[in-house]
Symmetry: C2
Amino acid sequence: MDYRTIFIDYLQKRGLRLTRVRSIILEAVFTTHSHFDADELYDLVRHKDVSRATIYRTLPFLVDSKLVKKSMFGLNKEKYEHIYGHPNHFHIICTKCGRVIEQIDKGIECSIIRLAENSGFEYKDYNLRISGICSLCNNNE
Amino acid sequence: MDYRTIFIDYLQKRGLRLTRVRSIILEAVFTTHSHFDADELYDLVRHKDVSRATIYRTLPFLVDSKLVKKSMFGLNKEKYEHIYGHPNHFHIICTKCGRVIEQIDKGIECSIIRLAENSGFEYKDYNLRISGICSLCNNNE
DNA sequence: ATGGTTGCAAAGGCTTTGCAAACAT
DNA sequence: ATGTTTGCAAAGCCTTTGCAACCAT
């Protein structure tokens, strides 16, 4: 299923509308291949007369519809990434240069889910961030 | 080794001083058993004439000296916890009631470290947050 | 016509910072 | 005496919100 369909469904179920502006934001989010914050997203669409306020008002809908996820690198600003069509993954971040790489590991993922359930939780999601120093930075010493 | 010693060493190496106010903050941090944000820490020490500004100025030293860690629940404010003397652990958070439980799993931890190294990173730290619904919330439906 | 949506500018919340007084060595 | 530290208030940054105009159905 297409991300547009999902978003329209999401909106309609709540009596909300797919407007020109929301479409622009949606497309921008799925065009970007990297992580972004509200301001970076704004930069992508400001030339189409989209305001910052609407960015901030739209982002929660995208998150709520599970198309986008808050990707907590928790440094300062909120960071987002589109996740629809992408398997759950985690981030390894270089604390020197800030480079972020993504990784998938089903083994770790299974352990995480099992552990949540053993702790009496109904598993929903996980966020894993690993910090380290990347090979480039380590060689440039 | 005592956390006070560590902090004093940290400060001295940088030409900084252990003042009355910094002591108060340090003790408050290690008296609290839960996670806290800057404002909650301020509430613990404000009656001893410690200002918010100094809280914000001291927290980075505590983090830098590895006594305290930013514990990204990344909801809005920065959250901290003292980690000296505690093994690395992760958090399972109930998305309904906000309850946070801590867990340790050496198996997952080893996998994480191995994975970072296989990706060419010198491993430093990890942050794992699992979201779910706790048994209490699931039974109250 | 009705009710959702938008941009703007103002307000809000958390954090940082300039400054002069106070402090530690 | 010297350089660090503090509280205060102001400023800063990111995000949210009230409002009147606008748009979709």
